[in-house]
């Protein structure tokens, strides 16, 4: 395994990116097939089922007149060793093609939806399906027998995630392809499936746009934990891997409370100004020109618009020490009172303490 990892690292230049590592794996697999095919020219024919087995002695066909009707002549069965070699190749091929699928399954999942049973099934199922297809091939009687046997066994496993079902389907498809000696088809299936899954996972395809991206869910609480700006990178990769978004949220909230208790940080704003209006643009223009004149700093926090109701403008402001809350409200009403039927000021702790002093 060490050598295998070293080879993968060599081809991916040590990159951990899943697409690069997948490409390197398939490249190595192709190289292996090429090398074996070079050393053993008949190998390719075995993979595709087009192999011609040399006859050791002439084969006697069945006499259709004297020996009665049969389904087909038994003379075309390959020698046991040759058959075993072909079957082994099909089984190994199925496992080698499903290994990267299991890696993708493990990678493109969060820890909650990870299911070790499914991972192991992805490796084992195609081997079993390949064996069954090889046995049943061309025999309607065996196929019916198999259906009977399978019907007698109760399968009642419910998979939690619809995507798990798709993985199982893929395992069956690869098993079928290997069983009918169509390993090139199985290879394409494996490659195409893996890259589609990786890309849909990478770009969060199909995400509900009304919900925050999964990456945002992680970054915000973790940045908060690290007391950094939300734009910055998450500081510790191990921390990211260790936490789910929910637990990171809880932890961040706890840290916030601790931070508030231990050290009261000086806030940038000391009040929230709420204005209810029908003329949002005009109100905004007038308010902001006023705030420029009378407060130390301000920031438009939110504009809430609801169909059929008045809009609400919410400003964060830092009122100067020289101005009281009443003076501030009077100034606001004086400038934009005609446009704004409702003006509310929510004073922060620091402002209240300042006025009390």
């Amino acid at each position: 395994m060490g050598l295998f990892h070293k080879l993968l690292d060599m081809f991916t230049l040590g990159s951990d990116r899943p697409i690069r590592r997948l490409l390197a794996y398939y490249f190595l697999l192709g190289l292996l097939v090429f090398a074996v095919n070079w050393a053993w020219p008949n190998f390719d024919a075995r993979l595709t089922g087009s192999e011609i087995v040399r006859m050791e002695t002439p084969e006697l066909l069945q006499d259709g007149l004297t020996e009665g009707p049969t389904v087909s002549s038994p003379v075309d069965k390959p020698p046991p060793l040759s058959m075993m070699a072909s079957v082994a190749m099909m089984l190994i091929g199925a496992v080698l093609l499903m290994l990267p699928v299991s890696w993708v399954y493990m990678s493109a999942r969060n820890s909650r939806s990870h299911n070790q049973g499914v991972v192991q099934t992805l490796i084992i199922l195609p081997v079993v399906v390949t064996g069954i297809v090889i046995i049943v091939q061309d025999s309607l009687a065996l196929a019916f027998s198999l259906a009977g046997v399978v019907a007698a066994v109760r399968f009642r496993t419910t998979l939690k995630d619809a995507r798990d079902t798709v993985y199982i389907f893929l395992a069956i498809a690869v098993g079928f392809a290997a069983g009918v000696q169509a390993l090139p088809i199985a290879t394409l299936l494996s490659v195409f499936f893996n890259f589609v899954v990786i890309l849909t996972w990478r770009y969060d395809f199909g995400r509900n746009v009304l919900e925050a991206q999964s990456s945002t869910k992680w970054v915000e609480p973790l940045s908060s934990l690290a007391n950094q700006d939300t734009d910055s990178e998450v500081p510790d990769r191990d921390l990211v891997l260790a936490l789910t978004p929910e637990s990171a949220d809880i932890l961040a909230a706890r840290f916030d409370r601790v931070r508030d208790l231990l050290a009261k940080k000086k806030t940038r704003f000391n009040a929230v100004l709420r204005l209810t209006t029908d003329a949002v643009t005009e109100t905004q223009r007038l308010t902001e020109s006023l705030l420029d004149d009378i407060v130390k700093r301000w920031q438009l926090d939110q504009v809430v618009s609801v169909e059929g109701k008045k809009s609400e403008l919410i400003y964060l402001v830092r009122i100067k020490k020289s101005m009281s809350q009443d003076e501030f409200l009077t100034a606001v009403r004086g400038r934009i009172g005609g446009l704004v039927p409702g003006v509310r000021l929510e004073a922060g702790e620091s402002l209240s303490e300042q006025e009390a002093d």
Binding site: T48, I52, P58, D63, G64, T70, V71, D76
Partner: protein, 317 residues
């Protein structure tokens, strides 16, 4: 542990070897019996032509058998599959599979409909009018090939091919001709050689071919040349008909195949006066059935030699 394992393996290997040798000897004896029986039957000049003399059940890889052609020695027949250029050589006298080979390392895929031989070269035809020219190779090998595109695929869906030694040309039987010729039986002639004459066509009105038979249509599934008369012999799967045409396109005879064989796909006539018909699997497994061929002089005298002596090359001019 190793001490007793090796002798045990040796005993097993020896057992397998002895088993194989015994089976091979038994097969050889059975084959000799079959050849003897067939030789006796062929030697009877008054034997019926509608009773099969032998019927060999095809192996699994030949269940979709399409065309058949006699090998240069006249005792073997080369059969090919429908969808892949996989060939099997069978000793038609004993029903022994002699060898198998493919066209190309990975057998060429195509809708192969017929095979014929001119000298040592074999020609295999697809329904779209492509001809694969190749030579026989050893058992288990892959044959190299040359593709000749007749570009007649739009004019006709082909179903059979025969080499005419007199004109050194390939006769290609049309199963479904283009619309304007649907009321005719159409055979294309594809000349071979260095400076071949242009491609020609034989068309015979279907009414003349059908004559008093109760067929709606005539769709050939294979074509061959009668080595005794040089006549063109056609077989059809749907109508289960055997049609003999003279070289100038006159209908010599048209009637049902000797016994009711479904899915007839190939036809060959030996110099011993035997008709070989291959049929693909349907309700019954694929087979090659052997009948007497009513060649001129058959009633007058029996063939001087048995089947084993017939080593002449029927396709050589």
């Amino acid at each position: 542990m190793r001490a007793w394992l090796l002798p045990m393996l040796a005993v097993l290997a020896a057992g397998c070897g002895i088993g194989k040798a015994k089976r091979a000897a038994a097969d050889s004896a059975a084959a000799a019996t079959r050849v003897g029986r067939l030789t006796d039957q062929v030697g009877d000049p008054r034997g019926r032509t509608d009773v099969p003399l032998a019927k060999w059940i095809m192996p699994r890889d030949m269940q979709e058998i399409s065309g058949i052609v006699l090998a240069p020695d006249g005792n073997h027949v080369l059969a090919h599959g429908d969808e892949r250029a996989h060939l099997v050589e069978i000793d038609w006298r004993s029903g022994m599979v002699i060898k198998r080979f493919n066209l190309g390392e990975t057998p060429v895929k195509g809708d192969f409909e017929g095979i014929t031989r001119g000298g040592l070269d074999y020609y295999m035809l697809t329904s779209k009018g492509k001809i694969y020219q190749f030579r026989e190779v050893e058992d288990g090998k892959s044959a190299d090939y040359v593709v000749i595109d007749t570009k007649l695929g739009d004019a006709c869906e082909f179903e059979g091919i025969a080499h005419d030694p007199l004109t050194n040309s390939l006769l290609m039987a049309c199963k479904t001709p283009e619309k304007s010729m649907r009321d005719s039986l159409v055979i294309y002639r594809w000349p071979l050689g260095d400076n071949p004459p242009p491609v020609s066509r034989i068309t015979i009105a279907l009414d003349l071919v059908i004559a008093s038979n109760d067929w709606d249509d005539v769709r050939p599934s294979d074509i061959t040349i009668d080595p005794f008369t040089g006549n063109i012999v056609l077989i059809t799967a749907q109508q289960r008909a055997l049609i003999v045409l003279s070289r100038d396109g006159q209908v010599v005879s048209a009637g049902p195949v000797p016994t009711d064989i479904p899915h007839t796909e190939g036809i060959a006539i030996t110099r011993d006066g035997l008709l070989l018909i291959s049929a693909e699997a349907g309700d019954a497994p694929a087979s090659i059935t052997i009948f007497r061929w009513p060649h001129p002089g058959r009633q007058a005298a029996a063939p001087a030699a048995g089947v084993q002596d017939s080593v002449t090359d029927p396709s050589q001019p």
